[in-house]
């Protein structure tokens, strides 16, 4: 089947154009700019859909910008991992829809257009990061999404928000520099910036110290972005204080940049077959396990709902990193699928928590007691998200737990399978607290009973996401069969 080749450009350019024009279009008209942003993401989603259908039928393909062939020209590349564009578009659309009322409520009117502009820029960065085949562009897109991310954290203008944004910015900038430095090293070694090309040329080079240095720099940089323990310190404040739709995007997608970055690193270095990655794998598995436990441990002592959710992100990134580090096919499948599923689940949680905060004005468990009776649909959605993230079957979260645990046994490291399953129990503890407070404990503030259900523009995204949390658990084969060939290809050099 023939495809219009330029969709791969559209998917990056459409949100970018939307972002640039948003302040112009939406001057003083917050409703219009919201619709404008949604339209931009609509076009992007259309393009993304097209690309995903194409990759499902024909396998990976690439697009040479301006007709220049790589390694000279800049290449956009779309493989099975690129299908994460789909989830980016979906979450982007839903978060923007959610913002329709939320942004107006939390921000001064004159800032609303800039908010949408930043959101679209962030999504541009994410999509670009996924589809680029060029290392330097990888860095540029990463910076686009990071910078807009820092600004989005601070957008509410509260004192704590600005401090959180600053902390995030410093950590983020250091990690970006590490990545840029490593890209420079890789360029000096191979003379190329195209990822496929770098992988091929590294193979000729042998295991030399510059390649090691690049590997270390890239891994460390992406670990900071992924907020794995112990370099997670920037995450809780930033994710908890940002406006809820932003938290959903940051926690669901932006953190995954670190993970996808690690995936790219693995793609390059596995294909190069020059370095023994066992050390890195061991490190990732251990850090993953520690992150799961520590994330859960810190979350138990939080009172603020969004703080709990932020710490739970650390645990979940721990799952994913563990899956990557296991370097077995099941582990890798579990990790990649969890990139999708965790995005869905965490967005459900943050958006429904956001709806509660929007309606009640409270954000601690103690204050939110009894909200389950006042906002039944939102609370059910949040509970579904909670059940899913803890990994109770048949929800989306279970699938990843199952695969990563299976991957641990497959890789003959049963300890980590056990650690994962029991680590998940820790996570249960604070979600039970949450559900107890919302449903079973008597209300602290009696007036909470008079709060009405969230407005439709918030309810719709929350319901869609919660439904997907359930459906993706049962229909888990779809993303799975999609990812499998890519994983097999990636692990082929290992003989597994």
């Amino acid at each position: 089947m023939a495809y219009w080749p330029h969709w791969l450009v559209v998917v990056v350019v459409a949100p970018l154009v939307g972002a640039v024009l948003a302040p112009v279009v939406g001057r003083g008209r917050p409703k219009v700019v919201a619709l404008w942003a949604l339209a931009a993401m609509g076009v992007t989603s259309l393009a993304a859909l097209n690309l995903i259908v194409r990759v499902a039928e024909d396998g990976p393909f690439s697009y040479d910008m301006g007709g220049w062939e790589p390694p000279v020209g800049i290449e956009l590349r779309f493989d099975e991992f690129g299908a994460s564009v789909g989830i980016i578009c979906l979450l982007g659309m839903l978060a923007l829809l959610f913002s329709y009322r939320y942004a107006e409520h939390t921000l001064p009117t004159e800032r609303v257009p800039y908010y949408y502009s930043l959101m679209l820029l962030n999504l541009t960065g994410l999509i670009g990061f996924v589809v680029t085949g060029d290392l330097f562009n990888l860095f540029v897109f990463m910076e686009i999404l990071s910078l807009s991310g820092y600004a989005l954290v601070a957008v509410s203008g509260e004192r704590i928000a600005e401090m959180a944004a600053f902390k995030y910015l410093v950590m983020g900038a250091v990690s970006s520099l590490l990545v840029l430095f490593s890209i420079g090293v890789l360029y000096s070694v191979t003379g190329s910036l195209n990822m496929a090309d770098v992988a091929a040329r590294l193979g000729d080079w042998g295991a030399r110290s510059p390649a090691m240095l690049a590997l270390a720099g890239l891994s460390l940089g992406f670990m900071v972005k992924a907020a794995i323990f112990p370099v997670h310190i920037w995450l809780p404040d930033a994710h908890a204080i940002a406006p809820s739709p932003v938290s959903a995007i940051l926690s669901g997608l932006v953190v995954k940049v670190g993970v996808l970055g690690m995936l790219r690193v693995y793609q390059i270095f596995y294909a190069a077959e020059t370095l023994d990655l066992t050390g890195l794998n061991t490190l990732l598995v251990w850090l993953g396990a520690i992150s799961i436990v520590m994330g859960a441990f810190f979350a138990i002592f939080q009172e603020d709902v969004k703080m709990m959710l932020a710490y739970s992100t650390i645990s979940n990134v721990g799952y994913i990193m563990m899956g990557l580090g296991l370097a077995s096919s099941y582990g890798l499948i579990g990790a990649t699928v969890h990139v999708f599923n965790h995005a869905l689940i965490k967005a459900t949680l943050f958006l429904s928590a956001g709806a509660m905060i929007y309606r009640t004005g409270y954000r601690t468990l103690h204050d939110l007691r009894g909200v389950g009776k006042a906002m039944p649909i939102t609370t059910i959605a949040l509970s579904i998200g909670a059940i899913s993230i803890v990994g109770i079957p048949p929800t989306a979260g279970f699938l990843c737990k199952w695969y990563i645990a299976l991957g641990a046994f497959q890789a003959d490291q049963p300890f980590f399978g056990v650690a994962l399953v029991f680590g998940a129990l820790f996570i249960f503890v604070y979600y039970i607290r949450m559900v107890n407070a919302f449903y079973f404990q008597p209300a602290t503030h009696p007036e909470i009973a008079e709060v009405s259900e969230a407005p439709l523009s918030m309810l719709v995204p929350v319901i869609i996401l919660a439904t997907l949390c359930l459906v993706m658990g049962i229909l888990g084969r779809i993303p799975l069969s999609f990812i499998e060939p890519a994983v097999t290809r990636m692990l082929a050099p290992l003989g597994g």
Binding site: L147, Y150, E162, M163, F166, V170, L177
Partner: protein, 117 residues
């Protein structure tokens, strides 16, 4: 060892700069100083990458009647141009954040800010 270092003086210098910057980021208490450390790190990385493209006795890679090889590698320079743009926007964002923190809290010392939390 020393010889290797001497031959790669440009790389060594950028690593040292990088570490100086990192030290400032971690150890300085003042947010502006922290950020200056970050800028030093940026400069170090930029210098490193530009140094990659240097060719002994190379000329500026500008096409024209006077141009004659060898040329220095133009690619790293082009990259760093982009890198500088990114760095400038980071700086702008950070400074505006610092200004607003100062306006609201009256201080930009990290320890005092932590106490206020």
């Amino acid at each position: 060892m020393i010889e290797a270092l001497w031959n790669n003086l440009d790389y060594a210098a950028s690593v040292v700069l990088f570490l100086i910057g990192l030290y400032a980021v971690i150890a300085k208490n003042n947010l502006v100083k922290k950020f200056m450390g970050l800028n030093i790190m940026e400069t170090a990385v930029f210098a490193f990458i530009v140094a990659l493209g240097v060719v002994e006795g190379g000329d500026a890679p500008i096409h024209g009647p006077d141009a004659h090889p060898p040329f220095t590698n133009p690619l790293p320079q082009a990259l760093i141009l982009t890198g500088i743009v990114v760095a400038v926007s980071t700086t702008a964002l950070a400074l505006s954040l610092i200004i607003r923190i100062h306006r609201q809290c009256g201080t930009i010392e990290a320890d005092e800010l932590r106490e206020m939390e």
